[in-house]
């Protein structure tokens, strides 16, 4: 029986392969060092090769053991592949969610649950940070632990919450929306998911190694990071797994969107969520390799004694920041464009209106993609880089507010002469997002103006801005998306009353926490400090109280989701009376989504247009005439 457990893909084999992988890495390092005549254990704080190498080989062993590679290995070795009987498709019990599964709907749920686990872990760290900052001086944690807390808080929230939770929501919804039976590469999709818990585990494992968690900030600027204790290597490696996951998913989305749309779904008939994920994926595939590269360069400087960022030996310190931000500024849009897509779906559905200026909305996304590659150095106005780079980067930075503004105004135009339903928590979050994100955008324009940036760079003003756009922006859209598609994913309704408690608590908590940060930043409080001048004590206490409200109210959300998933009333296929295809199938959808691929005959948001249809589902053919392509004139010609 034990033997069978070790042969079959699953957790036992994953554990065994993890141990084998780690042991192999350890033996490799020790063996090579012995042959070279070096000390077997190198324990300078930047070294520890006998831990760093197993931190690569162990997780790879885990991925093989859990079963991500079984099919490919058989294929590659010429062995007969297991017939594709879809035995690993769909989930019958909760246990199936803990196995490698190639069904995009199961993977979507796996993604969302895993990322929200990291959201709550990262949120708990934020609570500790605010507890420490409630008073001047150091009370709860010492500066070393504090630096670790805000670094891991940001790494978890960015790399294993905000970026992948959007991939998870889209994983579930997007194939249904375009009338596809699954993603283009289901096995790659499974591998993408399973790399995420690995990335999160590496970030958290850094707490248990000598020197403690990585503490150079999520930006990991060299040379602080190249000289930091062992935990920094776990950050370097965690980013690799999260980044590989992102790139694989983005390729999957691109191929799925380009090749697998239902007949009749032209580019201009795609829902805006699909446009948003197309744009996001274009950013991910081209930008993510830069952060992967730069984290490897830091790791090599640390472990292999290279000198990419060692100025004393010809390295260039500022080049770290250029490469890092060449990814990490587009990453800001990777964390926002999918949210724009969600808000478009939610507002159009709950306002019963076509999206105002649909084509300009789609073009604005593409405009943001192009511009976002040209603005990275606005993070470096005070970094001591070439002075002449600043003004062009300021102009592109301010111009990127234009396509973003187009989106805000078009959502507002969508509300014009609408029938606005405020009963749904999803709609409340979407509308609040418009206001909160506008403020985040305004502070972003101010930060883009060089003279103002010189004053407020690296202060709490920046902390306020990033949380207004990432929490008030991205996370609000994530909540809107989770509430909107919860009935589709679970087949049940959530409790709107608890949803409203969660919404108002989150809104008040967000404003109470992040609005005053603008002021204390301008007044002189730098970011990333455990201790601060006593004049900021009163505001920090108020911020901490608001942050605790914000944290506590997330537990209401958690309770609502868990209890409603189990005991909520049945939702029916289309509780919001939406037009897009995912709502035309049962909730949750059948195992292969569609008995017959739907035919798309019109735009996705034709609310109020008499007789307009978006898609014709199987079994409906008799009652609807064939599509008339009036725009192209094909229907008229015959």
């Amino acid at each position: 029986m034990i033997q069978a457990a070790l042969v079959r893909p699953g957790w036992w084999r994953a554990l065994a392969y993890f141990l084998i992988g780690s042991g192999f890495g350890f033996a490799l390092v020790i063996g090579l060092r012995a042959i070279a005549g070096l000390d077997l254990f190198q324990t300078e704080q930047t070294g520890y090769p006998h831990i760093v190498v197993p931190a690569i080989t162990g997780p790879l062993g885990f991925l093989v053991g859990i079963g991500c590679f079984d099919y490919w290995f058989r294929w590659a070795s010429g062995a007969p592949t297991i017939p594709d009987d879809h035995a690993d498709h769909g989930a019958r019990t909760w246990r199936d969610y803990f196995k490698v599964n190639t069904d995009h709907k199961v993977i979507g749920v796996q993604y969302v649950c895993t990322t929200f686990f990291f959201f709550f872990v990262g949120g708990f760290m934020a609570m500790l940070i605010r507890a420490e900052l409630a008073q001047p001086g150091t009370q709860i944690v010492d500066p070393g632990v504090y630096n670790g807390l805000f670094s891991t808080h940001a790494a978890l929230m960015i790399f294993v919450f905000v970026i992948p939770v959007f991939a998870g929501l889209a994983n579930y919804v997007l194939p249904l929306m375009i009338g596809a039976p699954d993603m283009a590469f289901p096995r790659l999709n499974a591998l993408s998911f399973w790399m995420l818990p690995v990335a999160g585990a590496l970030f958290l494992a850094s707490y248990f190694v000598p020197g403690g968690a990585f503490d150079a900030g999520w930006t990991g600027y060299a040379p602080l990071s190249t000289g930091a204790p062992l935990g920094q290597s776990f950050f370097n490696l965690g980013v690799q797994f999260a980044g590989a996951s992102s790139v694989a998913t983005a390729l999957n989305f691109l191929v799925t969107i380009i090749t697998m749309r239902a007949p009749g779904m032209t580019l201009w008939r795609m829902p805006l969520l699909v446009w948003a994920n197309l744009s996001t994926s274009l950013l991910v595939v081209a930008a993510t390799p830069f952060i992967a590269g730069v984290q490897f360069m830091v790791l090599f400087d640390r472990v292999l004694n290279t000198n990419f960022f060692e100025s004393a030996f010809g390295g260039d310190v500022i080049s770290y920041q250029h490469i890092f931000w060449f990814y990490s500024h587009p990453a800001v849009y990777i964390m926002m464009l999918p949210g724009f897509g969600i808000v478009s779906e939610v507002i159009s559905t709950h306002a019963r209106k076509p999206i105002f200026g649909y084509r300009l909305m789609a073009l604005a996304l593409i405009g943001i993609v192009i511009l976002s590659y040209t603005v990275w150095a606005h993070h470096m106005f005070v970094a001591g880089m070439f002075s002449w780079l600043r003004v062009p980067m300021m102009i592109t930075t301010l111009l990127i507010a234009v396509p973003t503004g187009i989106k805000i105004f078009s959502w507002l135009g969508t509300l014009f002469e609408a029938k606005i339903h405020l009963k749904s928590t999803a709609m409340l979050f979407a509308l609040a997002f418009i206001v909160t994100f506008t403020i985040g955008g305004i502070s972003g324009v101010m930060l883009g103006m060089i003279p103002i940036d010189i004053h407020v760079s690296d202060t709490y003003f920046v902390v306020a801005h990033i949380h207004f756009v990432l929490f008030g922006g991205s996370v609000f859209t994530i909540f809107a998306g989770v509430y909107h598609w919860f009935p589709k994913m679970t087949g049940r309704m959530y409790d709107e009353r608890l949803g409203r408690v969660h919404f108002w608590g989150t809104l008040i908590g967000t404003w109470g926490t992040f609005v005053p940060m603008h002021w204390i930043g301008m007044e002189g409080m730098p970011r990333r400090v455990a201790d601060y001048a006593s004049e900021f004590g009163a505001w920090n206490l108020e911020i901490s109280i608001a942050a605790f409200i914000l944290g506590a109210v997330q537990l209401v959300f958690l309770y609502n989701m868990i209890v409603s998933w189990r005991y909520g009333p049945k939702a029916g296929p289309n509780p919001w009376r939406a037009k897009t295809i995912e709502w035309q199938v049962s909730s949750p959808p059948p195992i292969f989504n569609f008995d017959e691929i739907p035919r798309v005959v019109g735009g996705p948001y034709e609310y109020g247009v008499p007789g307009a249809r978006h898609a014709i589902m199987a079994g409906e053919k008799a009652e609807v005439k064939p599509p008339e392509r009036t725009e192209a004139g094909i229907g008229a010609a015959s």
């Binding site: 019963r352 105002f356 300009l360 002075s387 690296d458 002189g524 990333r528 109020g608």
Partner: protein
Amino acid sequence: MQGVPYLRLLGLVVALTVVTSVIMLIPDWNGEQASTAAPKIDQLLDVAIILSSFVFSVVMVMLGYSIHRWRARPGDESDGAPLHGNTRLEIAWTAIPTAIVLILAAYSWIVLDDMEATASNAMPVEVTGQQYAWSFEYPDENIQADELHVVKDRQVAVEMRALDVLHSFWVPEWRVKRDAVPGAPGSGIDDDFVVTPDRAGTFTLVCTELCGLGHATMRAPVVVHETQAEFDRWAAEQEPIPPEQPQPAAASSA
């Protein structure tokens, strides 16, 4: 789109812009001004606040009016009006924000050039950051100190140096900031900036780039003397720059 009181909404936008601007301009956001750059930056901020108040007011009025006017009655399952867009409106909300941000960019550029204009009588100071302390060298006076002393109304030409990791120089009352980069001076590192203090007194230099465990407490006093004579008296009491200093400097610049 009948029955929408456009003129009254426009009036509401103007009124809200005025109210928001006034409320937002009352607080002394950036605190005390103690350099010639400070009032220019603060004025730029004020202009940004007024233009932002306008954009914010447009969004709030459009959102508030829509929710007030077109909220669905309970049980109303009908759809809204099938409006797909309005080309003139879409051109307007592309062109107007473009104009606003280009104005802000041009004004920022003017302020930046103004801030960075150099004076001929500037006093050079070399500021060195290391974990977790600041030190200051005055090449003209051939002295070193662990406090920054300067003279009111005389421009200071600062050159930044770092011995270990990145640090950043910030005196909030002066509104200037610049990172100290290991490897400076060197190709591709613009490590010098100017500032002209115009208020005598004592201020605090704050490190704003995360530099390790002591980052929060890496501070140094900044003293702005009323007169050059007062500064000279202070300078006479300081230690000279030790002679072995040039050697590592020569090695790193080679």
